[in-house]
Symmetry: C2
Subunit: 135 residues, 2 copies
DNA sequence: TATTGAGTCTGGAGTTCCTACAGGGTGTAC
DNA sequence: GTACACCCTGTAGGAACTCCAGACTCAATA
């Protein structure tokens, strides 16, 4: 664990913002490859693991399930031989991502209006529910 | 259950896109008020419940926890007397919403590029991980 | 109006995605 | 060589659902 680009699970946790226990869980769940081990049995990681783990964390924050993230990781890993398959999976997620952006934009608009009104000392009414409720 | 604006949990489920079991779970968790009951004990809902439930579903899809959603519902319900409190809670969520939008737009860009390249028959390399991994 | 079949009820167990110990081993710094 | 922080496995817990059994309700139809 002395080489600068090889580090322990604690360091990985710190650099990726993912809990140590969660990292081990992702390994069990197959989202991370089983890492190399030190002679004493410690897991050994590299920079590429930080990247992968940070991605998983962000994607989770954005409401993607582990299964969806598995798909996205497969895309990134170039696991699909067929261009058609990359296209289809990419398009599915693109549609989902765009829908999420649209919803978040709506929420942003409402929240910004409320915060602004409050800053002026005016107690605002809140159309938050209605704006997301409509199809 | 004959009046047009009063309906059963099954109809509510259909109109809101939320599982029947999940609706009952939200009731137990205090996100939905306890509904009126028919003489035989069936839950009775109204249009306002569809709105509220649809909002919860959307917010869950966007990665908000039930606790965060409780806060947002409180905002919408005008539960806070103080403008300061509305301002603070609104601002907290606004910051979170904007961060999510930023991440999703990055994903959107990558996915769109990949889908486009694939449509041209070119197998693209995928910088998906890198784009979200960076702080 | 009696029946039938879809819908609903409660309570409890199972699933996913973590998170928190307990009890023990590892690594390194003095 | 012994502290002390770190890591190991395994198991148990929590959040947010999801499913099921066995019993009851309701509306439609014969």
């Amino acid at each position: 664990m002395s080489a600068p680009d090889i580090f322990s699970i604690g360091v990985l946790s710190e650099r990726s913002g993912v809990n140590i226990e969660t990292i081990r869980y992702y390994e069990r769940a197959g989202l991370l490859q089983k890492p190399a081990r030190s002679p004493g049995g410690y897991r050994l990681y590299r920079t590429v693991d930080v990247t992968r783990l940070s991605f998983i964390r962000r994607a989770r924050d954005l409401g993607f399930s582990l299964d969806e993230i598995r798909h996205l990781l497969d895309l990134a890993d170039q696991k699909f031989r067929s261009c058609r398959r990359v296209h289809d999976i990419g398009l599915t997620h693109l549609t989902e991502v765009r829908a999420k952006i649209r919803d978040l934009r709506r929420m942003e608009g409402i929240l910004a209006t409320m915060v602004k009104a409050c800053a002026n000392g005016t107690m605002p009414t809140c159309p938050l529910l209605e704006v997301l409720a409509s199809a």
